[in-house]
């Protein structure tokens, strides 16, 4: 635990790398949310830029396909006035046999300041942070089935905007939790921010091994699990991650775990419906719900930009002026 703390935070306890929610602390998460709050207005201005990271070079190092995450990271970096380099490695160096470490050394030689990394292997962002030059910050944009902490933070941001606070909330996560890095990071963030009742809802084949270690309540029946929840987070059914025989059919899955208006009636009247996207309509969520009044799925995407701006700025030890010490709410 201590070791990871040291890796992510500097001697003053400030953010250096953002790899996983685990090992961080509540105050730091609140700081990220507050900083993001102060940065949201920028996206609404006619000139959508602040000079916080002017002169810095940020590399989006994507070893796995992504549209939403890469685009929002790119926009976030550009709104902070950084120079952005997008590298899609699937079709690049490692395909020619270059090791991850060699790729890293080459990019370092180009004097970059930050790596935003997505990789199919769990632990890849940790590995890069451990081996990168000391001046470089690493942001995990999703590693294998381990963590996707910026996604979790934008979800927390969305929940706070909808609900105001985290205590006394009941949050349910529904779907392929076993294979989901998003769910792992969400669970850690929710529990760190004080949510007492975190539920995961799925058939046994999609529940992670030893769920007790995560401090969650496990449900196998969607109707039972949705009772009186404040927030329901639907996960995408990650078909490409399915190994073996986890589910019989999309049809049976939708019957048992698909979110419909009828099932949503069991939740609190002001329930918020979330989804990290991209959504499979008619597989895990009915269009009526996805496009309905309780869905904040598109807000999540736009919040992603402000949250990622906040995390990037904080990892580079920069803060927007209006959130200078003492003025944060």
């Amino acid at each position: 635990m201590k070791k990871r703390n040291r890796l992510q935070l500097d001697e003053q306890g400030r953010l250096k790398h953002f790899l996983t929610i685990e090992g961080l602390n509540r105050q730091l998460l609140i700081d990220i949310l507050d900083t993001a709050e102060s940065l949201t207005s920028i996206s609404e201005q006619s000139i959508k830029k602040v000079p916080l990271l002017r002169g810095k070079t940020i590399v989006n190092l994507f070893f796995e396909a992504s549209t939403r995450t890469r685009t929002t990271f790119e926009l976030a970096a550009k709104r902070l006035s950084a120079d952005v380099l997008n590298i899609n490695i699937q079709a690049s160096a490692t395909a020619k046999g270059e090791t991850l470490l060699d790729t890293l050394r080459n990019l370092e030689a180009m004097h970059c300041d930050m790596f935003v990394v997505r990789h199919a292997d769990s632990g890849a962002a940790h590995f890069i942070a451990q081996h990168a030059a000391p001046h470089i910050s690493v942001i995990n944009a999703g590693d294998g089935q381990h963590a996707h902490p910026t996604q979790a933070m934008l979800d927390m941001f969305t929940i706070r905007r909808e609900k105001g606070e985290f205590h006394r909330l009941t949050v349910a996560i529904v779907g392929d939790i076993r294979h989901s890095r998003v769910a792992r990071s969400q669970i850690h963030a929710l529990s760190m921010l004080g949510v007492e009742d975190i539920r995961i809802i799925a058939p046994k084949t999609l529940i992670p091994t030893e769920p007790d270690a995560f401090g969650v309540h496990v449900f196998h029946d969607l109707r039972e699990g949705l009772r009186d929840v404040d927030v329901v987070i639907m996960l995408r059914l990650q078909k490409e991650r399915m190994r073996g025989a986890s589910l019989p059919s999309e049809h049976e899955y939708f019957q048992r775990y698909g979110l419909t208006e009828a099932k949503l009636e069991l939740a609190k009247p002001d329930v918020t419906v979330m989804h990290p996207g991209p959504i499979n309509r008619g597989v895990e969520i009915d269009s009526e719900v996805a496009d309905g009044p309780r869905s904040v799925i598109l807000q999540q995407v736009s919040h992603g930009i402000a949250v990622r701006m906040a995390i990037m700025a904080m990892a580079m030890q920069q803060r927007p002026p209006e959130t200078a010490e003492g003025e944060r709410r």
């Binding site: 470490l101 990789h119 632990g123 030893e210």
Partner: protein, 424 residues
């Protein structure tokens, strides 16, 4: 050349010796214990005061990487590391390149070991041709060429009919079959124990059932064929229970455990520590305690090193992409001694599980100090503290999670056939 080893505490469990005694060697063989033979005049006298004198260790599983992967290690480099660890006989699995599935490769491995002269190497032959699990090998010829058993290395024989025939054929010639018990489908290309830590780290798990299912299937075939089977590197308490039960029922089976499975658990993987990436995976505290108990009560016959040297790059990648294994020859003794210090078993039991018990499994004359035996001897100081570091490591592979551990007990001298092959 006549050698006298004086004032040492001789532990030779095979002969029931556990006392301060002098030991005398002539022409590479043990010639007397206690009193020298008449007219014995030593050319060299070794003072072993405050030290243990015991048979050289017999390691049931060490990958030497030659032929085929000399960038990781060679027979010469790794047997030299063995000598430093007090190990005089190494059993190497057949997964070299080329594979040890012909007498020629088996002979080549032994010849290279003889030329290097640091330790004896007893190869295992492949159970199936190319380890592919479809056709059995010329086991009789491999046995004649010096193979001490047959094994399919890390590749499980998926086809149970082939496994059954291979066991029947091996039983024809009294050949022991070495099994790494892992059901390939259940292992599902995982890289860690399927448990709380793997789940947190998002790493693909190998469930305990991958081991127990393979053990159960193999035991059923032992009942059917009567083949002598040795399970290499048991990793879970449940698998050990099944094997112990079978032994109680009289089946001809035995098993060993690696030294690191007696000291590390899944917890050691936190922070994605690729140096603890091993196969079978490190499991839970409960499993580790079960394995320790198995060593203490004799259900586990031997502690092996499962030595797997790697070049640095093999461990420099995200966890799942790293190669499994620990460079372990030089830590076999101190890790075993640590169990004596913890009160898990006695010094004599420890020496047994490193000497005559593994030798019995291999069916070789080693691991004991009877008059007339080859003088393969390890002398170690059980009280000496030392720290393993890059600088002093002899093996070509420096991949070990035990750097900076304070080790207690160090080999001071190793003799192979009466010749000193290591001296601190």
């Amino acid at each position: 050349m006549k050698i006298a080893i004086k004032n040492g505490h001789v532990i030779d469990p095979a002969n029931g010796i556990d006392a301060q005694q002098d030991l005398f060697i002539a022409e590479g063989k043990v010639v007397a214990l206690g009193q020298p033979p008449t007219g014995f005049s030593a050319d060299e006298t070794i003072d072993a005061r405050q030290q243990i004198v015991c048979p050289g260790f017999v390691d049931l599983r060490a990958h030497l990487r030659e032929p085929g992967e000399e960038h990781k290690g060679t027979i010469a480099s790794e047997t030299r590391a063995a000598a430093r660890g007090g190990i005089t006989t190494l059993c190497c699995p057949p997964n070299t390149h080329p594979i040890i599935d012909t007498p020629a490769v088996a002979e080549l491995v032994q010849r290279h070991a003889e030329t290097a002269g640091h330790a004896r190497v007893a190869p295992l032959g492949a159970l199936t041709q190319k380890l592919e699990g479809s056709a059995i090998t010329e086991m009789h010829a491999l046995k004649m060429a010096g193979c001490v058993g047959m094994s399919n290395a890390m590749q499980p024989v998926g086809n149970t009919l082939v496994l059954r025939r291979a066991m029947e054929y091996a039983a024809t010639y009294n050949i022991t079959v070495f099994i790494h018990a892992e059901d390939a489908a259940l292992a599902n290309n995982g890289c860690v124990h399927e448990g709380a830590v793997g789940s947190r780290l998002g790493l693909l798990g190998i469930p305990t059932a991958a081991e127990t299912v393979a053990v159960a299937a193999t035991l059923a075939l032992v009942e059917e064929t009567g083949a002598q089977v040795h399970f290499s590197m048991v990793s879970s308490q449940r698998a050990l229970q099944k094997i112990s039960r079978a032994r109680y029922d009289g089946l001809p089976v035995s098993c060993d455990v690696s030294a690191h499975h007696l000291h590390l658990t899944e917890i050691d993987l936190l922070g994605f520590n690729s140096l603890c990436h091993v196969r079978p995976p490190l499991r839970t505290q409960r499993d580790m305690e079960g394995l320790r108990k198995g060593v203490a009560d004799g259900q586990i016959a031997a502690i092996c090193s499962d030595h797997q040297p790697h070049e640095a790059d093999a461990k420099l990648a995200p966890f799942g992409a790293t190669e499994p294994g620990i460079s372990a020859l030089e830590t076999l003794l101190p890790l075993s001694l640590r169990l004596v210090d913890h009160g898990i078993f006695s010094m004599t039991q420890m020496v047994s599980s490193l000497t005559h018990q593994p030798a019995t499994i291999l069916g070789i004359k080693a691991g004991r100090l009877s008059i007339g035996d080859l003088a393969d001897i390890c002398i170690f100081d059980p009280e000496r503290y030392w720290t393993l570091d890059h600088h002093s490591m002899v093996s070509r592979g420096h991949n070990t999670p035990f750097f900076n551990w304070e080790m207690k007990g160090e080999v001071t001298r190793t003799l192979l056939g009466g010749k000193t092959v290591y001296e601190r």
